[in-house]
Amino acid sequence: MRPIWKERPAPAYQIIKALVLGGFAVAIIVPIMVVISTSLASDQDIIKAGGYVLWPSHPTFKAYETLFSGGLMVRAIMVSVFVTVVGTAIALCTTIALAYATSRPVLFGRPVLLLVLFTLLFAPGIIPMFLIVKQLGLIDSLWSLILPGALGAFNFVVMRTFFMNVPQEILESARIDGASDFTILRRIVMPLSKAVIAVVGLFYAVGFWNAFFNALLYINDTSKWPVQVILRTYVLQGKSLSADQLGVTPLPQPQSLQMAVVVVALVPIAMVYPFLQRHFNKGVITGAVKG
């Protein structure tokens, strides 16, 4: 149903809007289609096109079969899912707690805030970071991929800003009713901030899913490698150092394999978004406040 504040716009606006959104969507869909087509293309298709393929005339799943043969990829996907799910949960808890605790003028609020902001500006070096992880005995543990990412300053700042904008009178009336800070956070602030929690959760999840460099440094056991590390080795190399000398049967065209890698990296995380979308819809918040 068309709400009252969404009156039917003038046809000119409608056309402009349709053109902008439609154009943008096409500009995205066509290249993504090229990626998918190339991943399904046969060697001849790729040689014929000299690289990317718009439409595979001899579609094949060879690239995907190569990717998933040997079980390494399935295990890696499981590792990545674990790191992403657990990491996002931990990071969300840490961030929500800290953001809420600094969203009001409380004891030590300001110095803690400054502590976080400082992390926006400077970065610890690779070597000291490695030494810490090693000291904590986290080398070769999946926690080495989770704990160092348990708080992102950007996400924290965004979260805190949304928390600060929760209507103060609601909080104050709750406090007068004798609610503790824990209760206020759980019962009022969090339900009112579903949208930002969804956004920040998505940011964290994508961050954990895409991370690979920590795994390169901290995980020596290849059976614990997340999916991105393995995928990168496909995209980057394509050619075995001495395949010629060894008579190793050639891999499928790197191009199709590389695009299959892109698809595999994209699909699981892309599936998360539609589930979160409803939190961005209008009415959720107002409903909560009124109820």
Binding site: A25, V106, L114, T119, F162, P167, L202
Partner: protein
């Protein structure tokens, strides 16, 4: 949101309440009382602060290698100290200044041309009536964020490159090809176009979240009062999102010296370092390529200090304009 709450009582468009007021009382309370009052908040801080200490503050001290001739096989304890030599080298290198200039130009262009795009897109998406179209568009628009820069640039090349789709069409039609991908003068525009394609849909999400917090009853009331679409946009929507917009702007300004690494190093050859060398690629060549950890750390520190100044400046400016910004100037509850 603050703005929304205010507007319930005040005429549409009034500035949001200044955050200063809330705090004045807290200052006078003695420590013990505040401790008793705030202990739960302190408990909530513990995990985050612990994380910061262990995974940030301890390792960040490793940046002292900026004042050393650091060698991994010697470690921090045994590497030679060389004072501010690494910074002097940086200062005396004309390439550094070129890279700084490019970085600022590119950041400026990005700020002006890229920053508003996701906001505008979020507003358009928000104005859609059909939930189906809205969801479909959001899902499509955010996909490119997951493609690596290598691929994004390869795809751009396929369409706009010298041997790309558009130029092949131009050639067939008898025109000269247009060097979209290799002209140093238009490089900033190319960069923005790539950025819009890759990240506008993604950046839109945060604005959508902010939009979802706008109270629809305000729209209803305004619409009933006969306020047109532009008036409502100007007086309800934008003021409600102001805090978030300002916040993101401040964060971007504090981070202005990072305009991206992969996007530039990949295109450095095709447009030349004269246009595409930015601070991060400069550091890469000056430090990482030769395994010079100290130079890298020195550049990082310099960047951090400049970022801090910019962040502070932008935040102060936001205060002038009556925005809370990232952190408040006068608080002093510690």
């Amino acid at each position: 949101m603050t703005a929304v709450t205010e507007e319930r009582k005040q005429p549409v468009g009034a500035p949001p309440r200044s955050p200063k007021k809330q705090r004045s009382m807290a200052q006078q309370l003695p420590f013990k009382i505040r401790l008793r009052r705030d202990w739960q908040m302190l408990v909530l801080m513990v995990p985050g602060v612990l994380f910061l200490l262990v995974f940030f503050y301890v390792p960040v001290l490793g940046n002292v290698v900026a004042f050393q001739d650091f060698q991994p096989y010697l470690g921090i304890m045994h590497s030679e100290w060389n004072g501010v030599q690494n910074f002097i080298n940086l200062y005396g290198n004309p390439d550094f200044w070129d890279a700084l200039r490019n970085t600022l130009i590119l950041a400026g262009v990005q700020l002006v041309l890229f920053f508003p795009v996701p906001l505008a897109m979020a507003l358009i998406v928000d104005s859609l009536v059909s939930n189906r179209i809205r969801r479909a568009f959001q899902t499509i628009a955010y996909l490119p964020h997951f493609l690596s820069w290598v691929l994004v640039i390869a795809l751009f090349q396929q369409s706009l490159g010298g041997a790309g789709f558009v130029n092949n069409l131009l050639r067939q039609a008898g025109f000269d090809p247009i060097p979209f991908m290799t002209n140093p003068d238009t490089f900033p525009l190319l960069v923005v176009a790539q950025l819009v394609w890759k990240d506008a849909g993604w950046a839109m999400i945060i604005f959508l979240a902010a939009l979802s917090a706008v109270d629809v009853s305000l729209y209803e009331a305004a619409a009933a009062d006969g306020a047109g679409r532009w008036r409502r946009l100007w007086h309800i929507t934008l003021p409600s999102m102001r805090t978030v917009i300002v916040l993101l702007l401040i964060l971007r300004i504090g981070d202005i010296l990072s305009v991206g690494f992969e996007q530039f190093i990949l295109q450095r050859d095709s447009v030349g370092p004269g246009a595409a060398e930015v601070l991060d690629t400069f550091t890469y060549y000056a430090g990482v390529v030769g395994g010079d950890w100290s130079s890298g750390a020195a550049a990082g520190l310099a960047k951090g200090v400049i970022g801090a100044l910019l962040l502070w400046g932008a935040n102060a400016l936001a205060h002038r304009l009556g925005e809370p910004g990232i952190f408040q100037k006068r608080g002093g509850e510690s």
